[in-house]
């Protein structure tokens, strides 16, 4: 280790650079797709969790407890090794064509994170005064439409700091996808390390990528707040 000589050129150009870039792109794709799906699914589960229909509410409750309390790695393995046994053949065929590892990782990340997002959104909804629901209902909106147009937009605003946290966790957790062979950032950094023995450089690159990714996600959510949600005005 004392004789270790740094050689950044290995990772800034040529084949190994290309590996890292392709890893970066996979990480970005995996994170972006999973974040969007986890957010939508989280919204749906949150609404189901608060439904007046008992079976629906209980389904959401079990979903939340189950997926929040089992390790993500186990869930990734479950979707990768176990899901083809329970999924219909059509879906399996399609998954095999589109890259089964990637799909399994995306599904696991989506479902795992959606459970946390749903709980965050639910506490956001509970913090909206009940008069807002009354105002919406008395205007003639159904329960679900009231949620859609009046309650959730306000709840999501309140929920933004914890949501950003969940998005960041998801981006970092996406590195676990390497365990099933998804060639994302961490996977490629390890590849570079095992070919060149330049582990320090390779993992520094990976670290920087995750850091920049975090900063970008935070900035994008802030931008969304200002441009789309008009938070600064409504505050």
């Amino acid at each position: 280790m004392l004789n270790y000589t740094f050689d950044w050129s290995i990772i800034t150009s040529g084949q190994y650079f290309d590996w890292l870039v392709s890893g970066l792109i996979t990480t970005l794709k995996l994170s972006a797709i999973s974040i969007v799906m986890a957010f939508i699914l989280g919204l749906v589960i949150a609404v189901m969790r608060m439904s007046h229909n008992k079976p629906v509410r209980w389904f959401a409750h079990i979903y939340l407890e189950f997926f929040r309390n089992t390790p993500l790695l186990v869930q990734i393995f479950f979707w990768y090794f176990g899901s083809y046994k329970i999924l219909p053949t059509v879906i399996n065929d399609w998954l095999n064509k589109t890259g089964f590892e990637f799909a399994a990782a995306a599904i696991a990340l989506t479902i795992y994170t959606s459970a946390f997002i749903a709980e965050d959104i639910r506490s956001g909804v509970l913090s909206i005064p009940k008069e807002q629901m009354e105002a919406a209902r008395s205007a003639g909106f159904s329960y679900l439409r009231s949620m859609q147009y009046i309650i959730l937009p306000q709840a999501v605003r309140i929920t933004i700091p914890p949501l950003v946290n969940q998005f960041l966790n998801l981006a970092k957790n996406s590195s676990l996808a390497m365990t099933i062979g998804v060639m994302e950032m961490t996977y490629q950094a390890r590849q570079v390390e095992s070919y060149t023995f330049k582990g320090f450089e390779a993992f520094t690159a990976a670290t920087v990528v995750y850091l920049v990714l975090s900063i970008v996600i935070t900035a994008m959510v802030n931008l969304y707040n200002e441009k789309v949600l008009n938070i600064h005005k409504a505050a």
């Binding site: 009354e134 209902r137 205007a139 003639g140 306000q154 409504a234």
Partner: protein
């Protein structure tokens, strides 16, 4: 327009509405008053089924509220409700508050809905506030926007639950003016209020409630000058002293 026949309602063991019989005709302005906790809010909230009734018959604009088949969302779209605390949608601008239901429920094109909203805003004297957010407005302005929001659905009935009770005294007048205009335009209105000036000027009838019972029902001049029931006399005396009844 609105008919209560032997209506009862309980909150657990609390008998909040006790044998309510009441009829409101089209174009009539009815004022409901009574001490705090007497059941005024509950009464007015049953009219658009924010509170369901437990017994009796309630017919609103030809729809029977005790019938499970009645489309409650359709009924509510026909009945405007103005709350004591305004309850505007804080995440939407003034114009967004007013146009949301017309666009989403009545499927009116956005441009048309906004034109109608501007007419209403002009009517309540707030045209220049179209792009403001509720929390940037005074209480009086918020309540006027809330009235415009209710009117945007072209309701057949407007309900008001103590619309001026949460306002600073200097803002009460501007809201009452809007409501008086509305009353004179022939809108059917049920108004829970202790504003006797409003009742005298535009109400056709005043109803006095206590302990969930309608104790007195009379034209405003009779009610204010010759209240029959001892509880009503006591209530009016309290209203006239600085210590306001709830």
């Amino acid at each position: 327009m609105i008919t209560f026949k032997g209506v009862h309602k309980w909150f657990k063991s609390l008998h909040v509405l006790n044998d309510i019989n009441l009829h409101v005709s089209p174009g009539e302005v009815l004022v409901v008053c009574g001490p705090s906790g007497s059941g005024k809010s509950t009464l007015i909230r049953t009219i658009n089924q924010l509170e369901p009734i437990n017994q009796g018959t309630l017919i609103v604009d030809g729809m029977d509220l005790s019938d499970k088949k009645t489309d409650i969302n359709k009924l509510r779209a026909e009945v405007g409700f103005v709350f004591q605390q305004f309850n505007l949608y804080p995440h939407l601008s003034v114009i967004g508050n007013i146009t949301l239901a017309p666009i989403k429920i009545r499927n009116i094109p956005k441009k048309e809905a906004e034109e109608q909203a501007m007419e209403l805003l002009t009517r309540v004297g707030l045209a220049e506030k179209r792009d403001a957010y509720p929390l940037q407005l005074s209480g009086g302005q918020q309540q006027r926007v809330a009235i415009a929001r209710g009117l945007a659905m072209k309701p057949r009935i407007m309900l008001f639950d103590e619309p001026t009770s949460a306002l600073d005294p200097e803002m009460i007048g501007e809201v009452l003016e809007v409501m008086k205009d509305l009353a004179r335009s022939g809108m059917t209105m049920v108004v829970v209020t202790h504003e006797m000036g409003f009742a005298r000027e535009v109400a056709h009838r005043v109803v006095f409630m206590d302990y969930g019972v309608i104790l007195e029902e009379a034209p405003p001049e009779d009610f204010f000058l010759r209240p029959q029931h001892e509880r009503a006399q006591q209530f009016l005396r309290q209203l006239l002293t600085p210590m306001q009844a709830g």
